[in-house]
Symmetry: C2
């Protein structure tokens, strides 16, 4: 079997996750990691992984079947995405929901021109959660959908706390509110805002002598980030933060509750849930499965941008159609 040859652009937590996920896929091989840093200063998770400079990627169009772009949505992907789509089949996890239509158009133009496939916004949200929202709505049109996130770390909210004067470090967990979850699972179809559904739980390390009451007040009244939410603030030591809050768990669930029957008398509930001990490693595992799909689509002669909505489930699997029908249908 010819292995699918993968490249990784960007070597943070996500890129490292892709490197590890590929080790679980006998049908794929890692050609190398491309970084903006000095390659010799990057220490990969696997000793045999080749690290190259990002500029070396350009000449490798015939050596890499799919490039997995592991940069961030704010700073990296808007430029890196179209650039690499002109050279390779690509997968990315662009997750700025409001920016997706514009990003899709740019990626579609670039990939159509190069004759390559670019699957954008892959991961779990956007990604697997989107599929669940979409399919559940198509199946139960007479209903209501809900997305809950957590328990997991929100990088954006943690950063916002760190910008407050007197804060040395912080982690913010988004936690679904149990009462809201129960109400939704009961089929009651309540009206709920994001703030009604989530608690913001903050662990803060203050500078020595800082005014903790003022910090707590600033957090709880911060517009957009915390003011509308039920927010809990706990001050801890730097050692405690490192010991208890270094992991990267996340997860959440998508629930749709819909009515069927002559008098809408029957309630049916679809729930898709994730409980992840490693958010970046799981997201990376999703990217790798979709890399398989990108390569297969491109070998069929297809080009242009795609989202998870456009990909038949079978394309994620190394198994044949006959194997899938026999073993998993």
């Amino acid at each position: 079997m010819q292995k699918t040859r993968i490249g990784i652009v960007g070597y943070g937590n996500l890129g490292r996750g892709v490197e590890l996920a590929l080790k679980q896929c006998p049908d794929m091989e890692l050609v190398g990691v491309f970084t903006r840093r000095q390659p010799e200063k990057v220490e990969p998770a696997c000793i045999q992984t080749k690290v190259m400079h990002i500029e070396d990627a350009e000449g490798m169009g015939d050596k890499i079947d799919v490039m997995i772009l592991c940069g961030g949505s704010a700073g990296d992907l808007p430029k890196q995405g179209p650039h690499f789509a002109r050279l390779f089949n690509t997968i990315d996890s662009f997750d700025t929901h409001a920016g997706i239509p514009e990003y899709y158009e740019k990626m579609n133009q670039a990939a159509q021109k190069s004759g390559k496939i670019s699957i954008i916004s892959v991961g779990w949200d956007p990604g697997l959660f989107s599929i669940s929202r979409m399919m559940s709505e198509a199946i139960l049109p007479n209903g209501q959908g809900y997305t809950f996130w957590g328990k997991g770390v929100s990088q954006g909210h943690s950063d916002a706390i760190r910008r407050i004067e007197g804060v040395r470090d912080a982690k913010q967990y988004t936690i679904p509110i149990e009462e809201a979850v129960s109400l939704v699972r009961s089929g009651a179809n309540p009206q709920l805002s994001t703030a009604d559904k989530h608690l913001r739980d903050c662990y803060v390390v203050a500078e020595e002598g800082a005014d903790k009451a003022r910090i707590e007040q600033e957090i709880k009244t911060m517009p957009n980030y915390f003011a509308d939410y039920k927010t809990r603030v706990t001050f801890i030591t730097e050692a405690e933060l490192k010991r208890d809050h270094s992991a990267m768990p996340h997860g959440g669930f998508v629930i749709r509750s819909g009515k069927t029957g002559a008098n809408e008398e029957n309630s049916n509930i679809i729930e898709y849930s994730l409980k992840l001990e490693s958010n970046p490693e799981f997201t990376a595992s999703v990217l790798v499965a979709y890399a398989r799909a990108a390569w297969r689509l491109n070998r069929e002669g297809k080009s242009g941008a795609r989202t998870v909505f456009d990909i038949p489930p079978a394309y994620l699997s190394p198994k044949s159609g006959a194997e899938l029908r026999k073993e998993l249908l």
Copy 2:
């Protein structure tokens, strides 16, 4: 907008569910129900539904875009499937797991010959549960998958009890065993047989004067159906059966637990669950969404048999790609 024109073959609980589900879809219209019974003796759920004899369907190839086959997998579909695939795009819920490869081949031959699309084995298992099993395995190859069914009525097991001498009527519920569910959700990846995962809960109406102890013994020792399972038998009156056990709830969940990380140190759990107050109405809602996909594929010039694994999620929705990307991604 041109509506998709649907026909229904077979008018039991499932056919009636399709009739009701179509009322929730403004992009579809029901041309009529085709039955083996005398049409004038069938009373449809909606007064405006046209009921015709099954033999009248043959001449309606240009009036129906997709025929939804609502017959049973044992007696009806093996014959009806290939017959209608020669005339129409079709959707069916063929659910004899072991017979799927052979049924697929027959349907594929018929549909390729007619230039139509036949999506087979649509519903929730096989169907939505299959998609979850398949995608979760592709994403977390280093893991273990589990399917639990229930709480819900098993028609086959209820029938088996009714065949025992002295039994007037019976209902059997399949119920997931809580301890097994908890163990799986913990990420422990236990080895579990179907019997380890499910309790069989039987409600039995005995004939007057029948030997209840003998009936209970016969149920609990019945090979394949009950002998390997934890089985509970409760005798009730006919009035109680009618009052408390007439509904058709079902559901269940597919769980996959997989490890990621350099030392497989992180556990990630994907769970897809359904809680249905009406099994036939929900299954019907899934069939209707896939009818949309069949018609769209056929308009693109595609033909042959498909399963849920082959269908891009977007094809289930009446919304455009741009709408889906903007609203649901």
